[in-house]
């Protein structure tokens, strides 16, 4: 078990290292003078921002320093939580801007991921080997999983927000309100949360249902299922075993899907102008706020790594074989 976690942590550490290095390298890959080209391409309204940007880039790229020390400086800044100053939200530090958006993104993603996983697995397990259900769950699942996240978001936004007018279509809370711990504000938060949550939930649902259906069918045809059936074990017992064994790869699947789910959350936020990381990225791109883009990149990587680790821990709890000192999980 220690070896299992050791391997995982090593991979995650390596991944983080690679991500930071990529983050550092990319601006330096750009042809020409990076400082000049970025300042030129940034559309900044405030003159102080231009000056700050110039100073920051010059400092960061530190043309008077060697590449090695530039690289170490980059790490040093990172460790102290210094991601630079945002151009778009000048003069706020990038870290603060991102931390302000993180709760919204997490509040959207965590319930959507967990619920879609639970409901999807349940629907998939029901569908397996039941002709009638299978014929509905499967096509619906494939359509959902093939739908781009933003399109479902747009359709829901248009249908419920514009045509029916029953739910708000933009923002994280009513523009008339200031964030506070009042019931009014919380109610407004909840109202604005429903549609983005629903779009994320729906698309993710399809993938889990299909995955579970296929896994269960595979498990029901496994040798141990046949053996139990030959010994007259009731369907109930066989299905219980199959379900349990089919859930295990679905947990691993959750880890594999994180990247896709994050991407889905980002575009969904953009559709609903939901004040999370996704909208931040859109603003950053529109304003050529490179510090902000690089900062969000690292935050996303970090978040995904942490989530991966949590899933690993859950897997060890659920799959007894990993605890018995076996290499039960290959991922």
């Amino acid at each position: 078990m220690r070896q299992y976690f050791g391997r995982k942590l090593f991979i995650y550490g390596l991944t983080f290292f690679v991500a930071v290095t990529v983050n550092w390298l990319i601006p330096r890959f750009m042809p020409g003078d990076p400082v000049a080209s970025m300042v030129a391409r940034a559309s900044i309204s405030q003159p102080e921002a231009v000056a700050a940007m110039q100073a920051y880039y010059t400092d960061l790229f530190g043309l008077d320093q060697s590449l090695i020390s530039q690289y170490f400086n980059f790490w040093a800044a990172l460790v102290t939580g210094d991601f630079g100053i945002s151009i778009w939200a000048y003069p706020k530090p990038v870290a603060d801007v991102i931390l302000g958006a993180v709760p919204y993104t997490l509040g959207l993603m965590i319930p959507a991921i967990l619920l879609s996983w639970l409901v999807g697995n349940w629907a998939g397990a029901l569908a397996a080997r039941r002709k009638l259900l299978d014929n509905t769950v499967l096509p619906v699942g494939y359509i959902l999983t093939a739908t781009p996240y933003m399109w479902i978001a747009i359709l829901l936004c248009w249908g419920f927000g514009v045509v029916l007018g029953v739910l708000p279509v933009a923002g994280g809370y009513s523009f008339a309100l200031q964030p506070s711990w009042s019931w009014e504000f919380i109610g407004s938060l909840a109202q604005h949360w429903v549609l983005p949550f629903a779009s994320l939930f729906l698309v993710a649902l399809g993938g889990w249902a299909i995955g579970m259906r296929n896994m269960i069918i595979y498990e029901l045809e496994a040798d141990y299922s046949n053996y139990l059936a030959a010994l007259g074990a009731p369907h109930r017992l066989i299905r219980r075993y199959a379900f349990r064994n089919a859930v295990l790869p679905q947990i691993t699947g959750l880890a594999l899907q994180l990247g896709v789910l994050v991407a889905g959350a980002l575009v969904t936020e953009i559709v609903f102008s939901y004040p999370g990381i996704g909208s931040l990225i859109l603003k950053a791109i529109q304003n050529k706020d490179f510090f902000l883009i690089q900062g969000t990149f690292l935050f996303i990587v970090l978040g995904v790594l942490i989530a991966n680790f949590i899933i690993d821990v859950v897997y060890v709890v659920v799959d007894p074989r990993t605890r018995a000192g076996m290499a039960g999980a290959s991922t």
Partner: protein, 313 residues
């Protein structure tokens, strides 16, 4: 008499029609008898084994009846058959290595299986049987993947026979093992019979020489039909059916298996069972074939307990 099979027909449904994998087989099995079932791949021996306990979705019981201890087995009805499984008819499958749920400790799996059949575990008896096959009692606290291949095989043998079934089907259980392990398995199975854990047994195998060490009677099948059935000694030393004769003579030495390869001594292939030929199914490959073989040969008792389906026998 333990088992009586009368004119059993089981077909496979395929898109191209029905494959007549088992086409009218009759035999009897006495108390305490071990029957070795031999023949090439696709001769129907595995189909016969499966039919007696659990048919898969593509198999269809077309005709014939099966009686066990004087009671008819509803082999075509998977639900009605359920009470008989495990308690009356049991099986040691080909796939012992993967027969146990990988995510359950073995002891718990056994308990859950027995609970589901409304039987409480007799721990002492279970331990006694583990001792018998030289398995440590600790295996019950382990996961299948912690056991070696041989241990898994013995564990499955213990599980399958735990409820003292009347009939045990051992389906190609030795094909993946080396010779010394095969011997051990054969000895264990004999022991199970002698101790009364199982009343009678059908031992399905590719390996006719191994069958000879274990079985009291050997039944040779060809293309879904019985070719010859006699006491082991008679089949090995005085085979009457040309197919059996070729089978035996093509065995160079004890322990050599003819496996899935087609017989070198017999030219040609077994006929398609989608549309089998009229008359004797071996006629196209038989060195002795003559006009009469276009008619189906009946199974005749040529001497006591020695049955042959051949016009020349």
């Amino acid at each position: 008499m333990t088992l009586s099979v009368q004119d059993l027909r089981v077909y496979y449904r395929t898109l191209r029609g029905e494959v007549k994998a088992l086409d009218g087989v009759s035999f009897e099995l006495a108390d305490g008898e071990i029957l070795g079932l031999a023949g090439e791949s696709g001769c129907g021996k595995t189909t016969l084994g499966k039919s007696l306990i659990r048919m898969d979705g593509r198999m269809k019981h077309v005709g014939g009846r099966v009686e066990l201890d004087g009671e008819e087995l509803p082999i075509g009805d998977t639900v009605k058959m359920n009470p008989f499984r495990f308690t009356e008819v049991s099986i040691i499958p080909q796939y012992s290595m993967s027969a146990m749920n990988p995510t359950r400790k073995i002891g718990r799996m056994v308990r859950e299986l027995l609970d589901s059949r409304g039987v409480t575990v007799d721990t002492e008896e279970l331990h006694r049987r583990l001792d018998l096959v030289e398995l440590d009692r600790d295996v019950l606290k382990r996961y299948p993947m912690e056991l070696s291949g041989g241990m898994k095989q013995r564990m499955v043998m213990v599980i399958s026979t735990l409820l003292n079934p009347s009939l045990l089907i051992a389906d190609e259980i030795t094909s993946a093992l080396d010779v010394s392990t095969q011997k051990a398995v054969v000895t264990t199975l004999k022991g199970f019979r002698d101790l009364g854990f199982v009343k009678s047994m059908i031992f399905i195998t590719h390996d006719i020489s191994l069958t000879n060490q274990l079985a009291d009677t050997i039944m040779v099948m060809y293309a879904g039909k019985l070719a010859e059935k006699a006491p082991s000694d008679a089949v090995v030393n005085r085979p009457r059916h040309p197919y059996t004769q070729l089978l035996i003579s093509s065995l160079p030495e004890v322990g050599v298996r003819y496996a899935d390869k087609k017989l070198t001594g017999i030219p040609g292939n077994p006929p398609s069972l989608l549309d089998p030929p009229v008359g004797c199914r071996f006629q196209d490959r038989c060195p002795l074939a003559f006009d009469k073989c276009r008619e189906e040969p009946p199974v005749v008792e040529v001497e006591k307990d020695h049955y042959v389906a051949c016009w020349k026998a």
